[in-house]
């Protein structure tokens, strides 16, 4: 059985857990614990270890989805999670500009040493005051070649659309065969 891995990252409360829950075929294995730091103000329970989801592609192939912990003190896990990943989805809460710097830090972490295919998912587009994908591209200083995709992490079609856009990026880079 071959497994391939995608990593779903983003700042605290960007919607990583919802994103994986919405598309995973298994109940998401989440090691959520009650938050004990400043994230408590944002979210009663936040991801302190990781979320794990799974999509069977066939009898011989499985796609695993890993959500990274959002808090800075779990940075060390990002490197472990990113080893051998197929691609990366960066989720950003489009309604909270105070998280854009942290989002940039996360993007920088993942792409600084590896030429990782990634897309940015502009989550919570159904909320009032959501910044549009075009505005987020500028705010996050992403070049035009990076796809910034509107997203609502609780909507299955929307999550599928983000994953497909990432896969098209990966497809462009893959070899024949």
């Amino acid at each position: 059985m071959q497994t391939v891995k995608m990593v779903i990252s983003g700042a605290v409360n960007s919607g990583k857990t919802e994103f994986i829950k919405t598309i995973s075929e298994i109940e998401v294995v989440s090691t959520e614990r009650r938050a004990t730091d400043d994230t408590k103000a944002i979210k009663k329970e936040t991801t302190v270890a990781m979320d794990f989801g799974r999509i069977a592609i066939g009898n011989d192939l499985v796609l695993h989805l890993f959500g990274t912990p959002g808090q800075k003190r779990f940075d060390f896990m990002w490197e472990i999670l990113s080893e051998g990943m197929l691609g990366l989805v960066i989720l950003v809460d489009s309604t909270r500009p105070e998280t854009f710097r942290e989002t940039n830090r996360i993007i920088d972490f993942f792409i600084s040493y590896r030429d990782t295919p990634y897309v940015v998912a502009a989550n919570k587009q159904d909320r009032p005051n959501a910044w549009s994908p075009d505005e987020l591209r500028l705010a996050l200083r992403q070049p035009p070649r990076i796809k910034v995709i509107p997203c609502v992490a609780t909507d299955r079609e929307s999550v599928k659309s983000v994953l497909l856009e990432l896969l098209y990026v990966i497809l462009d880079r893959s070899s024949e065969g």
């Binding site: 071959q2 391939v4 598309i23 999509i55 069977a56 592609i57 066939g58 192939l61 796609l63 990113s82 080893e83 051998g84 197929l86 500009p97 105070e98 998280t99 854009f100 710097r101 920088d108 600084s112 040493y113 590896r114 030429d115 990782t116 009032p128 005051n129 959501a130 910044w131 075009d134 505005e135 500028l138 705010a139 200083r141 070049p143 299955r156 599928k160 994953l163 497909l164 896969l167 098209y168 990966i170 497809l171 880079r173 893959s174 070899s175 024949e176 065969g177």
Partner: protein, 271 residues
């Protein structure tokens, strides 16, 4: 829909960059405690800025001793005759009450020195950007709108604390490299001599610390200058990868077969 936030979290220079690159038209409203400011943009360029809502061109020019009260009265009458459907600035130029260069210089100095650069000193402040909002025709609108890059560069020159610079340049071991396509933007930026010295040493390899050493500038000055370049969108700040890390990165990215990726695409499409 309005863009809202706080410049403590999303800095003024970041917002100006967004307005510039997004060719935005509208008004940025800033508020903190008892202070407020408004900045109007037309296709990414600054047309007018003020620290109050009801500034009038006539009052401003009389106070600046560029018009006499009688000339201001004549301008108001000409503006009324025009049907109030042109910015008063244009009426003033049509009536030949002040040379365009002098009007531009007077308004530009006011907007830059008394409004925009002072805002770079705000440590926090709520902002709201109203798309499409335009200034009143009677406001002191600049005859020639100002490009944003130089405002950012000069605003950043006045930043004197590490705190904000560290947001983008947390270590002097980082490296600057030119962005892929600075395009026409780079041509319009005016650099001071010490900025040129730093600019000339950007090669994607040398760290901030080594550039400081080679230019005899302090690490703070080099980082501040690089912060300006990065904020104006001229350079990217990146980590300096070691040879071992580059090799590891290459190993981590095995070439995937298209057939495998296509299978995953097909599966997700049918979910």
């Amino acid at each position: 829909m309005a863009l809202v936030g706080n410049i403590q979290d999303f800095g003024l220079s970041d917002f100006l960059y967004l307005v510039d690159r997004g060719y935005k038209t509208g008004c940025l409203h800033l508020n903190r405690e008892n202070e407020m400011a408004i900045l109007f943009f037309e296709k990414g360029k600054l047309t007018y800025a003020a620290l109050c809502h009801d500034e009038k061109l006539t009052d401003f020019l009389v106070q600046a001793e560029k018009l006499t009260p009688e000339q201001a009265g004549a301008l108001t009458q000409a503006y009324e005759r025009s049907g109030r459907n042109l910015p008063m600035t244009q009426v003033l130029l049509k009536e030949d009450l002040l040379p365009q260069e002098e009007l531009q210089r007077t308004l530009q100095t006011h907007v830059e020195e008394e409004v925009v650069y002072s805002l770079f000193g705000w440590p926090e402040g709520a902002f709201r950007f109203e798309h499409g909002q335009k200034p009143e025709f009677e406001s002191p609108i600049l005859p020639t709108p100002l490009s944003i890059e130089n405002l950012i560069m000069e605003g950043v020159r006045r930043i004197d604390e590490w705190g904000r610079i560290r947001d983008r340049i947390p270590s002097t071991d980082l490296v600057a490299r030119f962005v892929d396509q600075p395009g026409e933007k780079a041509k319009g930026v005016k650099l001071a001599p010490e900025e040129w010295r730093v600019f000339a040493r950007i090669n994607g390899k040398d760290t901030m610390a080594s550039i400081a050493k080679n230019t005899n500038l302090s690490e703070f000055d080099v980082c501040r200058i690089m912060y300006g370049f990065a904020t104006a969108g001229l350079v990217d700040i990146i980590k300096k990868p070691t040879a071992a890390q580059l090799a590891q990165g290459a190993q981590d990215q095995p070439k995937l077969r298209r057939s495998l990726v296509s299978r995953i695409i097909n599966r997700i499409q049918t979910m």
